[in-house]
Every structure is written in C-alpha cells, then in structure tokens.
C-alpha cells in the first residue's frame, strides 16, 4: 500500500490517539461534564434528574454555614499543608544531596545515611490510604494506650488520667489531619526534588565553592533557583491533594456518615459533598459543590503557574 507520506503520518497519529482518548473521554471527561449538567438540577441521585433549577444550588451553597465552614478548613489545609510539605521536602533533599561535610566530587554530597533516610521517608507513599487510616486510628486513640497518647504521657505533657482527645478535639482535629497529609507526602517530594537536584551540573557547585560561597548561600543562590520547575509541579499536585483529603476525614474523624469531626470542626468540602450525595439525597447540590471545588483548584493552579514563572535554564 503506497500512501502519501502525510497521509501515513495522519493515520499513525489517529491510531495512536484513538485508544487513550476513548477511554479517557468515556470514564473521565464525560462523567465530569455530566456533573456540571446535574449541578443545575434538583436531583436525588436515584431517579433521573427531574427538575432544572438553574443556579439555585449555587446560591444556596453560599448561604450554607456548613459549606462555608468546610471551605474555610480547605483553605487552611491549602495554605499550611503544601507550604510545610515543600519546605520540609526541600530541606531534606538538600541535606541528602549536598548537605554532607567532607566533599565527595566537588565538595558536594549528602549526609551520612542518605540512602537510608531516602528509603524511610518515601515509605508512607507506598502505603495505601486504608492502611494509613487504620494506622493513625490506632495511633490517635484517645485513651492512654494509643501510641501518641503514650508518647505525650511519657514526655510528661499530660498524665494517664487526662489523655489528649486528638481527633475528638475541635481545636486539634484539623491539625491531626494535616499532620497525616504531611507525613504521607513529604517523602514523595523529597524524591522529586532530589532528582532535580542531581541533575544540576556539579560544576555549578564547584564554581560557587571556588567563589567562596558557604553552604547556605549555595543553596539559596544555586540550588533553589534551579529547582523552580519541580517546585511548581509540586505546588499544583499538593493543591489538588489539599482539596481532597477525603479518605482521611471520612474514615478518621468522628461523625455519623463520612466523618467531619466534632461539630463539623474537621469537615472538608469533599466529605460534605459525599454526605449530600449519599445520605441527604441532594445529588444536584453536591454536584454544584464539586464544580465550585473544581474552579477553586483550577484558579489556584493557574495562579501558581503564573506566579512562579521563570526563565528556563537548559543544562
């Protein structure tokens, strides 16, 4: 079969895109477009949507005190969790890659035991969320035999008769969730940043060294600026993770269905959405909530992309 070169190329492109696009459109894009449509209806989630109510769901949302509470909590998670995770991951990656004392090649290498730390820190990433949930449920146990309570009692911060109410405390429940999130994700970004750091040519470090730069200076003047790309990626992914947090809140915090903590003090948008879907029979309303979450995430990512735009360096 002798086809024109251009035609052959077109056929190739089409044949390669067909499978991936089909699967993706059917199982991701379409349900998701439907979500937008359903958000304009009054729908219980059982029978097909009956009544189109326009933007009523959206108006109701912003008068809904629980929704606003959950939104505030997500905003707190959104600010605290990515920031802490990135700073920690950066610091660890720095220690592991260029934090060593006695120079290896060009005076740059990681601290002793780097390989061990790298393996350990990444470990939470390979645990399924279910395992993490069961693990922390046992650790946050609010009696004196829970692991964390055992630790604070040992440290003398409280006594055996007054164990801390980690997940039952209105003040701490959100921080407990955020701690797990950070615990879970730091390792992943540590590996990502490490990889980026190792791609930085050694001669840059040597040059900095020759110019008499100290370690801290080298870090802020050489390493950091060259890592912008990966930091950007990290921000976007962490923002998405922060808007989620569903599994943790739904299974760990006290609450009748999908958790939410004492008096919604641990409520996040995802759990409130699911409760509306599955328990309160307000699927249309939940879809509207989903759309709001989506736009928040989208705007955030665009802001991050714009704000961290830098000149790209090729090396």
């Amino acid at each position: 079969m002798r086809l024109r070169k251009k035609t052959r190329e077109r056929l190739f492109i089409a044949s390669f895109l067909a499978g991936p696009l089909a699967v993706y459109l059917i199982f991701v894009i379409w349900p998701y477009v439907e979500t937008f449509g359903y958000s304009l209806t009054e729908w219980s989630g059982v029978a097909p949507p009956s009544k189109v109510v326009g933007l009523k769901n959206y108006v109701d949302l912003f008068h809904d005190s629980i929704f606003l509470k959950a939104l505030t909590h997500n905003m707190i998670i959104l600010i605290v969790f990515p920031t802490v995770t990135i700073i920690l991951a950066m610091f660890f990656a720095f220690m592991l890659n260029v934090g060593g004392r006695k120079g290896g090649i060009g005076g740059v290498r990681g601290i002793r035991g780097s390989a061990f730390f790298r393996i350990v820190f990444f470990f939470p990433q390979v645990l399924s969320v279910a395992i993490i949930v069961i693990l922390f449920q046992a650790a946050y146990e609010s009696n004196s035999v829970g692991l964390f309570n055992a630790v604070v009692i040992k440290l003398g911060l409280t006594d055996a008769n007054h164990p801390w109410e980690f997940l039952n405390s209105p003040t701490f429940v959100l921080w407990c969730i955020m701690f797990i999130l950070v615990w879970q994700w730091v390792g992943f970004y540590l590996v990502l940043f490490s990889a980026a750091m190792q791609q930085i040519p050694r001669d840059y470090y040597e040059a900095a060294l020759l110019d008499g730069a100290g370690r801290t200076q080298t870090y802020f003047k050489v390493t950091m600026p060259l890592l912008w790309d990966s930091v950007q990626t990290a921000w976007v992914y962490l923002a998405v993770a922060a808007m989620d947090a569903f599994a943790l809140v739904a299974t760990l915090t006290p609450g009748s269905s999908f958790g939410g903590g004492p008096d919604e003090h641990g409520e996040v948008l995802a759990t409130y959405l699911m409760r509306n879907f599955q328990v309160l029979g307000k699927a249309g309303y939940a879809c509207a909530m989903g759309v709001v979450i989506f736009f928040i995430t989208l705007i955030l990512s665009l802001v991050v992309m714009r704000a961290t735009r830098r000149e790209r360096l090729e090396y």
């Binding site: 190739f12 390669f16 991936p20 699967v23 993706y24 059917i26 199982f27 991701v28 349900p31 998701y32 979500t35 359903y38 989630g45 950066m90 610091f91 934090g99 006695k102 120079g103 090649i105 740059v108 601290i111 730390f117 393996i119 350990v120 820190f121 390979v126 399924s128 969320v129 279910a130 395992i131 949930v133 069961i134 922390f136 046992a138 650790a139 035999v145 692991l147 730091v186 590996v191 490490s194 990889a195 791609q199 040597e206 020759l210 008499g212 730069a213 100290g214 370690r215 801290t216 200076q217 080298t218 976007v236 569903f246 299974t251 959405l273 699911m274 939940a286 989903g290 989506f294 989208l298």
Partner: protein, 312 residues
Amino acid sequence: MAADMTQTPPAAPPATAGKAGGKPGGGERSRRFGESGATLNVFGTGFMGVWAIMVLGPVLWVVLGAFKNSSELNGSAWSWPHHWSFDAFSRAWHTGISTYLKDTVIVLVFSVSLTMLFGAMAAYVLARFEFRGNRFIYYLFVSGVMLPVYLALVPLFFQVSKLHMLNTYQGLILVYVAFSMPFTVFFLHSFFRTLPSAVYEAALIDGASHTRAFFQVMLPMAKPGLISVGIFNILGQWNQYLLPVVLMQSQHGEAPHYMLSQGLVSLMVAQGYSGDFPALFAGMTIAMLPVMAVYLSFQRQVQAGLTAGTLK
C-alpha cells in the same frame, strides 16, 4: 529554615586548584564549605532522625501489635509481645486477605500495563508530531490532574453501570487506566520532548514505519521515564480506595471483588465488632509486605528513572 549562617568571605582560590590530577574539592576548600553549616548539620541530622522515627514508629508499632494478644494490646501502648506466634496472621489470611491480594494483583497487572501503553502512545504523538488540535488534546489530558476523583463519582457509577461493568475486573481496569492518563501523559510528554530525534530519523530513512520506530526505537530510549512513571502508577493504583469502594460492590448477590485497601477497611469494621485487633494489625502487615518488597527492590530505579530525564 533560613538560619543565618556566618558567611565565609570570598577568598581567592588556592593556587593548587588547577594542578593536574588534583582531586577536586579536596582538603581546605571543602573544609570551608562544610564549616559554614556545622550547626545546620547537627540540627538537620537530628531533625531527620526524629522524622524517621515518626515514619517508622507507627508502622513498627502495628507490626508488633500483630504479635500481641488482645489483652496486651489493650493494656499499654508500650507492652512487648510475650510469645511470638503467627496465630493472628493465619486468622487474617483466612478472613479474606488472601482473596483481596489475588484480586488486586489481577487488576493491577492489566491496569498498569495498559496505562503505560496508552499513556506512552498518547504522550509520544502529542510531544513529537505537529497537527491540528494537538494543544487542545494535550490540555484535555493534563487538565484531568485538576479533577478530584469523587467529583465525577456518581455519573461515573452510572456510566460503568450502563456498560454492565460494575464489580468486574475489566470495569475497574478501564477506570484506573482513564484516571491515570493525566499524570502519565503529562510526565511522559515532557520526557519524550527531551529525546534526540537522530536515531528515530535514521530508522525512518531505513524504511521503518512510524509504529515500528516508536516501539523499537523510542520506547527503549524512554525506558527510564517509563520505569519511574510506571512505579508511580503502581503505587497510585495500589493506593486507590474510593474508586473500588464505589465500583466493586456486590451486584445481584455474586461475591464482590474487593481490592486490598477496601478489604482492609471492611476488616477494620469487622474487627471493631469482634475486638480482634491483633488480626487486623496482622492483616495490615501482610498487606504491607509485598509493597515493601517491590518498593525496596525498585527503590534505585525510581531514583534513576527520575534523574535520567535529561540526556546530556
């Protein structure tokens, strides 16, 4: 973190620096480099030690818990198992862990392979060919990263239901593949862009078809990228909890094909009633072992795969 370190004043490089065969970074210079961060080092290493304990502590505590009996477990957090028996493990194994493991492995073998094949095909075409709609399709794929899974959950449930794929392996496999596309395409797209075209063009001139050039030239060259994104997909799909909970429920009374994560939580609920926490902890330990083995043996490849992204 930005501790104000005493900065060493810039000094002229020692005259020996240019000496042939002189080890770079030997002696004086690297000493100075190290000095500027002595405090940082002590503090940093200490802090990393604390973090390592925070990661390993709960995990080890749970593994130990699998060997304790219920009264030891409820007595004190610091109790040590008196007699090391594997009773709890066999109880957990027979309450379903074995089945969950088998089902999970079946799904993952197919879903990860298909994710890699489809992701590589799409990313490759989008990265290296000019055609109308290229940018649009690329952004369509990548924008999926913004989409939290539970957002499309109910329409997705009906979609899978319409295709009669609820509680089937193939249904979950296709859904996993679809939801893994955004990250896979995003990652491999940037990877394929960095690959040199010389070898590929030579293959075309030698009369290879586009398809053949892709499978025999480009894919082997992209191996490091494929490995690292493959590992992330294995972990991601292994960790998936919400999708199987929604899609793998028993339909019309046949047995549900639980994924491991889902099975563990149902075990947690069951143990909550029976109070058999050692069995629950044993189940978790069993669930952690294969992942740990995979992780520890592929550890180096994850690093290598990520770092080999740029070809010098």
